[in-house]
């Protein structure tokens, strides 16, 4: 036979079964001791519902204990931290704290902002009204991305006097707007120890100011958790939600300056 035949399913399954016992696993660490010490330190709260209903004071006490436990768990469990991020009501954006410092990388990573277009065409492509920050005026470039439901618009502004260039984007200011109500988890921001995340209020709406060391921004480019994503480093960012739209201003500006740009937006 001139052409080697491709492996059939059964052969491949057999080859994998053969590989299984030889798989080069590292030695299994002893987890039992560590796990035991952690659960002994924080036992399960056991409650007896009948007795509780009869005694409101006891119920209140247990509720307080459970709340305290939930708070402690929230500090430990990254999944709960995500839930807290949602709790702060900036929809479409999840902020997680990464375990280690971020790698130092080449300054400009691809922005993947979507398709270059005009403001008019972008407006027709997205499911919300695009608003430009009055202090900046017309954007130097407009991009539209179809990743999130309802679309996303990115307004790019070149550096100019008073607006320094951002190493990570090569731009002065980048404003993005998308339907946060439709795109749960569209953006994930992973911040390292050198980045601060501060809860803030933008024009009366809840938001975050993320500043300091650049953070990782992960953008879901399709629907579903396992869809492809793009990622890059992002600089100081003000993110907030007004109505159904989530706004994001990324720049090298201070919080006060970023707030001034945001003041002209909804």
């Amino acid at each position: 036979m001139a052409e080697p035949q491709r492996l059939r399913d059964l052969e491949l399954e057999r080859a994998l079964r053969d590989l299984g016992p030889r798989y080069p696993y590292p030695p299994t660490p002893n987890l039992a001791t560590m796990v035991r010490s952690r659960i002994v330190a924080r036992p399960i709260a056991t409650v007896r519902p009948v007795a509780l209903w009869r005694d409101p004071r006891r119920l209140a006490l247990v509720a307080a204990v459970l709340l305290a436990l939930a708070g402690a768990a929230a500090l430990i469990n990254p999944a709960t931290r995500d839930a807290i991020a949602h709790f702060f009501h900036v929809r479409g954006v999840i902020v997680t704290r990464g375990p280690s410092p971020l790698p130092s990388v080449s300054p400009v990573t691809p922005l993947d902002l979507g398709r270059l277009t005009t403001l008019d065409q972008a407006q027709r492509a997205v499911g919300f009204t695009i608003v430009l920050p009055p202090a900046l005026g017309a954007a130097d470039a407009v991009y539209v991305a179809s990743g999130p439901p309802g679309g996303e618009v990115a307004l790019a502004y070149k550096p100019r006097p008073g607006i320094p260039v951002v190493r990570e984007t090569g731009l002065g200011v980048l404003v993005t707007e998308f339907r946060g109500d439709l795109a749960e988890g569209y953006i994930t921001k992973e911040v390292g120890p050198g980045t601060t995340v501060e809860e803030t209020s933008v024009n009366g709406d809840p938001g975050w100011w993320i500043a300091g060391q650049p953070h990782i921004i992960v953008i879901q480019t399709g629907p579903g958790e396992s869809s492809p994503e793009t990622l890059r480093l992002a600089s100081n960012t003000l993110v907030w939600e007004h109505g159904v739209v989530t706004y994001r201003i990324e720049s090298g500006l201070s919080k006060a300056e970023a707030m001034r740009l945001a003041a002209g937006l909804p």
């Binding site: 492996l7 994998l16 798989y23 987890l31």
Partner: protein, 196 residues
Amino acid sequence: MEGRPLDDTALVERARNGDVNAYEALVQHYQELAFRVAYQVTGDAADAEDAAQEAFVNAYYALGRFRAGAPFRPWLLRIVANEARNRRMAAHRRTALAQRALVAQTSGEAAPSPETAAEAEEFRATLLASLRRLRDDDRLILAYRLFFDLSEAEMAEALKCPKGTVKSRLSRALGRLRAALPADVRLPATAGETDG
């Protein structure tokens, strides 16, 4: 691999009532499997250890939501795989960013030239490398079935998917593994004949 449903059920019940020793026994029993499943996802020993440890702790506090009498093993593995995925994702993002600085470097992939004597070993190395290139989900489903011998019901529970879709998922994962293998790969005469 034979599960120990009776022992598990009793241990889980005791752990639920705050018996730390019972839970420690469960950890002892499943730590190797949990660590290996986590390693299948993370590909890194330290991340796998963290993920497995975190999963055991989280599973303990989630015992209240565990359906009494249900199989513990697939339920635990689902938590392990989730923890491992989170860690892998974080690690992957860091690596991906770091690698952008190294674009200039060529990926010097050496063409395998099998020697007859080392053919089986070579084949396994190729298989392993292709396996590692698969998506987590595909690698996990193959590992659950072919490395860890989970039943279809257990796989459905561990993967949180309908039982009826396990077979087709497995078959698609095999297909993608085949596609990831070099086109000229051949099953060596010896491979697969060692067990009966």
